[in-house]
Symmetry: C2
Subunit: 145 residues, 2 copies
DNA sequence: GTTATTGTAATTATTGACATTACAACAAAA
DNA sequence: TTTTGTTGTAATGTCAATAATTACAATAAC
């Protein structure tokens, strides 16, 4: 299975909020229009980002905003906020290896640290990219430089 | 979503084949016993590993074996063989960003290379671990050192 | 108060994972 | 050559996650 599109959606949402913050009120309907997903899905993602303190959402009056510098929000923050993997574990281990078998009894101990290393490598790379990078590259493309 | 347990299952299967190769005929039923998953699932995984040239399976007479040195089979080889992610793409991108929106039109171009970097970081780490590492650590635990 | 919007529940469709039953194809031993 | 054990594969079922959609109460500004 792939990592849920909630993640790329969330990044798209951040890019929109930043790009359009001065021109429009960036509502869930507006964001649904740009991402082409249902407004309710957008609101769920905004809810998760809000719970992580990464966005502010104006109830009633409407509109989302980003309450801190883009350089302080990494793709890892977003990845964690939208909870793409259960328990934060990238690999799904088969549930009940047979403990009566020498291999089944030890497979977890053998594999766990290695899988963790792989996961950390991925998360480290995610944490090295921030929304400021996204903003810069998006602006460059939009301005057609 | 997490990466399918087919991956950890496959590694478990390799460990079993190696550990028990001299004592038992390692059949799909035997492997099903150690992993605690259905023998048909084991056969499907063995089929994928066989297609990738990572195992040999004796039709009729039964039993699986590993046709090359453990040090030449990496976790990345296994990961690719069992096809845990579609198209080899770790991240599922939302399908139809609105091309009438400056952000929707450019989000792919902005994100693709960054996501690829993250994916490569993970795959590089996977490729640095081989079945020889698994064999060594498994043996150490089984022998109680 | 009217209006626009958010937060959330409920329902549905679709997809992948994994389990399970069943059986033909196959290979080796009796 | 029949018997036995095994593989490969199809068909079916269950379960969980994703995502779309409808509906509506709670909220905030005008």
């Amino acid at each position: 299975m792939q990592i849920s599109s909630r993640f790329t959606l969330a990044v798209h949402i951040f890019a929109c909020i930043d790009v359009f913050k001065d021109e429009y009120k960036v509502t869930s309907d507006f964001l649904a229009g740009s991402t082409n997903v249902n407004p309710v899905i957008v609101r769920k993602i905004l809810g998760q980002l809000k719970a992580a303190g990464l966005v502010e959402v104006a109830r009633g009056s409407g509109g989302a905003s980003i309450p801190k510098p883009l350089s302080e929000i990494s793709l890892l923050d977003i990845y964690n906020a939208v909870a793409c993997v259960e328990n934060g574990e990238l690999f799904h281990f088969h549930e009940n290896p047979n403990s009566d078998c020498p291999v089944g009894r030890n497979i977890h101990a053998v594999l766990d640290d290695k899988l963790m290393r792989v996961q950390k490598a991925m998360e480290t790379e995610l944490s090295s990219i921030t929304l400021e990078d996204i903003r810069r590259d998006t602006k460059e493309l939009i301005d057609g430089k």
